[in-house]
Symmetry: C2
Subunit: 108 residues, 2 copies
């Protein structure tokens, strides 16, 4: 075993899980926060910013991109990465929904 049984869950559940998983690493959170900080969508001087090797950063960027959390567009030799607002909105909605549901519940 060891493989996740994705086929037993709904598409929505898998989608949220994939996005959350992509955020489930401090380096990827740091990348997101860096992209936010530099306002303009600067590419990989992220390598200078984080204590990780270039191939590792590249791998993390790929996962963020696959999950739809960032977008990247070619800009000469470099690539301009930036936040994909849509996906973050989806997350915010999802959690807002959870909270408003919980608000009406009494438990433990």
């Amino acid at each position: 075993m060891g493989a996740t049984k994705t086929d037993h869950f709904t598409d929505q559940q898998n989608k949220i899980a994939i996005i959350a998983k992509a955020l489930g690493h401090p380096a990827r959170i740091a990348i997101i926060e860096y992209l936010l900080k530099v306002n303009a969508c600067i590419c990989s001087d992220i390598v200078d910013e984080l204590p990780l090797a270039q191939p590792t950063i590249s791998q993390h960027l790929k996962e963020l991109k696959n999950a739809g959390l960032i977008k990247g567009s070619i800009e000469g030799t470099s690539i301009c990465y930036c936040i994909n607002e849509e996906t973050f909105s989806l997350l915010k909605e999802y959690f807002a929904n959870i909270i408003s549901t919980v608000a009406n519940q009494k438990c433990c």
Copy 2:
């Protein structure tokens, strides 16, 4: 290699990553959604609800609890698990913040 370099990131970054990671599995999303659905905080008839063995569910519950996403209190033979609103609020705030920051940015 293989171990995450947590010590290079801020406490906040690690905390968000830990919470996100806990949500990064469809079974755990399904557990959260089930807890929301049953309103009252019913314990592990989750085992009947999901296509996973009891110890696997127990393991997933433990991770959700460690991340602070759910709370569990002993109720006789069983344990009453329920959503921990606080942590979800934290997430919602975090993403709301990201969105309002991105809203002012132009990129790619």
